[in-house]
């Protein structure tokens, strides 16, 4: 570590080690989340889920990953080759980079930028581009329909996402994630901003394309939506990106509303992970309970209900802060 710090400068060393850590975290996280999703869904449906491979199916995901890697990469005949091949990469990289600013504990943050929130939100918007690329390049009407739906959905739900986060940022006065966690020392923001929390979770499920907002990949309507024509490792990348995105939005929810890594007795990172996975459990709970929303109802819901409520919340917060 010291040698690396001397040759490259401690900042760059921190970055490199951090990136290695992120890639490790992302892989292990995806492994764990896929197993968790299958087990949670199974027990809600009164069945055991994967039980064969390993203790209660713990290494089932590794078996699935090996299978996906060994599959033939079928490229349909008339796809737009460069766009088709780039789409899985474009969807995966921004999510990786969002990890740079998340504070895992008091000292475990790769780079404490003073525009941390802006970075995360900007990179979240890039996934829209990737979905459009995948849908259009696949030369398949189902994929194009899925991509169009996804673009409208993501754009519509980013606005209330930003506004609810802005209510919290107004209270803290800084865009840096470390400052936001530090401002929750006495009480967590979920107590003072419950409406913002509910709105944020709704927008988070819509941003990650999960049920009840999973129209882009509606299995029973469009076969598989925008990733119909992808097979093997490319499909695995889409999958990985979805689960990592889930981790990112849950991490942001934890930092903004649940006090980040703060908690008694146990070390910071353990509390952080407990809170993140609790919110991920909430997202999975939504998926296995509710039917899918229809497309025009989705957009109506965003523009007529979520945005007015988010604005009202922001105005109320501003008013209370001014009066204090």
């Amino acid at each position: 570590m010291e040698l690396l710090a001397q040759t490259l400068g401690s900042d760059a060393a921190r970055m490199i080690l951090g990136l290695i850590g992120i890639i490790a975290l992302v892989s292990v996280n995806a492994l764990f989340l896929i197993w968790m999703e299958r087990k949670v869904s199974a027990h809600m449906q009164l069945r055991p889920g994967p039980m064969e491979v390993g203790w209660h199916g713990a290494i089932q995901t590794i078996a699935d990953a090996v299978k996906l890697m060994s599959k033939e990469l079928i490229t349909p005949a008339e796809v737009d080759r460069p766009v088709y091949l780039l789409a899985p990469i474009v969807i995966f990289l921004p999510v990786l980079l969002s990890f740079l600013v998340i504070p895992f504990s008091k000292t475990l943050v790769i780079r404490d930028m003073n525009v941390g929130v802006l970075l995360i939100l900007a990179f979240a918007a890039l996934s829209v581009l990737a979905i459009l690329m995948a849908g259009w390049a696949s030369n398949n009407k189902y994929s194009v329909l899925g991509a169009i739906r996804s673009v409208a959905q993501n754009v519509a739900y980013e606005i209330p996402l930003l506004i609810t986060l802005m209510s919290v940022i107004l209270m803290v006065g800084s865009l840096s994630l470390v400052d936001i966690v530090a401002a929750q020392e006495r009480y967590w923001f979920i107590l003072t901003q419950p409406l913002a929390f509910i709105l944020y979770i709704t927008c988070a499920t819509a941003e990650t394309n999960r049920a009840p907002f999973d129209l882009p990949e509606a299995e029973s309507e469009l076969v598989a939506g925008f990733h119909t024509e992808y097979s093997g490792m490319r499909f695995a990348l889409f999958f990985l990106a979805e689960y990592t995105n889930m981790f990112i939005v849950s991490a942001v929810a934890t930092v903004f509303f649940l006090g980040g890594w703060q908690g008694p007795i146990l070390p910071g990172i353990v509390w952080f992970l407990i809170k993140v996975y609790a919110i991920i459990f909430l997202l999975m709970w939504f998926r296995w309970t509710f039917p899918r929303v229809r497309f025009d109802q989705l957009i109506t819901f965003a523009w007529k209900i979520l945005i007015p409520l988010a604005f009202a919340n922001l105005l109320l917060t501003a008013l209370i802060l001014k009066l204090r």
């Binding site: 869904s41 809600m44 449906q45 009164l46 069945r47 009407k141 189902y142 329909l145 049920a211 009840p212 999973d214 129209l215 509606a218 299995e219 029973s220 309507e221 469009l222 076969v223 296995w288 309970t289 509710f290 039917p291 899918r292 929303v293 229809r294 497309f295 025009d296 109802q297």
Partner: protein
């Protein structure tokens, strides 16, 4: 064949024969403008198995397993319709206990069919859990039916003149326990599905079918009852021992998907009532008619019987020329008529709505193609 619009504003999409939510091998050709459907044409015939041709080459008893495979979800009602037709030709009278056993098993089969519909329909809409809850309930029913008939899906249980094997005490107690158990589950289904705001928004005021359309297209079953017409063959042209039971016919008001869903849920409750009353009133006695001929050779003539299945009216038209093999058997299936209204209802809807409407019609495609 549909062609895209002249100004190229529309495009043709195929809800192809292999699709997770057309229940069976059905192809629907859609002409779409953006996300809205301007024309929808169903294309059938992918599952034609020539049942009516097989009827001309087999004798009456050998054709009985075929009737169960026409609509495999409510197979006992189809068995019943065919047996009733041949019994009318032969002039056989089924004894009371036989009729009671037929009614009990047929109503249990109607319950399995409706439970499967609820599960599959919600899976089309995107909720994956009610499917498994319905199948859990269905398992108990299938175990009960397995005890007396020996099969779980394609039953061949009725014979001309009655039923071949009797029911025992364990079956009766099992039925009563199941009735209690299913009644306690209605609360869960209400909370999870019926009152859910997302489901209400997907189902209210979608797929409206007026009463004139019902009569014009010859729809039967829960489609007609959802639009407000109280037509149920068990009440209008009663057969078997249905007049002895006290049950209602649930009807809807507007004819949208929500009404059809509620009609089917309430029909399940009425089926439970019928089963309870039948178990209470079950008489002792013979289960087969006395003089059933060894070689079934009905006299010359033709007969049409109609029964009420889970999907609508199943009609069996048998023409006999005095031979051991029937001259012609025509099976009038409810799903064929029910599907005909799809082109009218599907105009100006979204693809998601089309899937919802197709699901609410409860179409079993193999019975359309026979």
């Amino acid at each position: 064949m549909l062609e895209p619009g002249i100004e190229e504003k529309t495009y043709v999409l195929n809800l192809g024969p292999q699709h997770p939510s057309t229940h069976g091998v059905l192809r629907v050709e859609l002409e779409m403008e953006g996300e809205f459907i301007t024309k929808a044409e169903p294309d059938i015939g992918y599952g034609h198995r020539a049942h009516e041709h097989m009827a001309e080459n087999r004798n009456y008893l050998q054709f009985l397993p075929n009737t169960a495979r026409v609509d495999y979800l409510h197979a006992l009602a189809y068995n019943q319709g065919y047996c009733m037709a041949v019994e009318k030709l032969l002039g056989l009278v089924v004894p009371e206990r036989g009729e009671f056993i037929r009614v009990i098993t047929s109503e249990m089969n109607r319950l399995t069919s409706h439970l499967l519909w609820v599960g599959a329909y919600l899976m089309d809409l995107g909720a994956f859990t009610p499917f498994l809850y319905c199948f859990d309930d269905r398992e108990h029913l299938l175990d009960l039916l397995d005890r007396i008939t020996g099969s779980r899906l394609t039953y061949c249980f009725y014979r001309f003149g009655g039923v071949p094997q009797d029911i025992d005490e364990e079956f009766i107690t099992g039925c009563r326990d199941f009735v209690k158990r299913l009644r306690s589950r209605w609360v869960d289904y209400d909370n999870l599905v019926t009152k859910n705001v997302i489901f209400i928004h997907r189902a209210r005021d979608v797929g409206l079918i007026t009463q004139e359309q019902c009569i014009k297209y010859g729809l039967t079953g829960p489609m007609v009852r959802g639009s407000g017409i109280p037509y149920d063959i068990r009440k209008s042209e009663p057969y078997s021992v249905y007049p002895l039971f006290d049950f209602e016919i649930p009807i809807g008001e507007r004819g949208d998907i929500m009404d059809r869903y509620l009609v089917r849920m309430r029909e399940m409750e009425q089926s439970l009532r019928i089963i309870e009353q039948a178990l209470d009133k079950l008489p002792n006695g013979p289960i087969m008619a006395e003089k059933v001929p060894k070689r079934i050779k009905p006299p010359e003539g033709e007969v049409y019987t109609a029964v009420e299945t889970a999907r609508g009216e199943f009609g069996c038209y048998v023409v006999s020329k005095g031979d051991v093999k029937p001259y012609r058997i025509k099976l009038r299936v409810p799903s064929f008529g029910n599907l005909c209204i799809l082109p009218e209802v599907a105009v100006d809807t979204l693809v998601a709505d089309l899937v919802a409407i197709l699901g609410s019609m409860d179409v079993v495609v193999p019975e359309i193609d026979r």
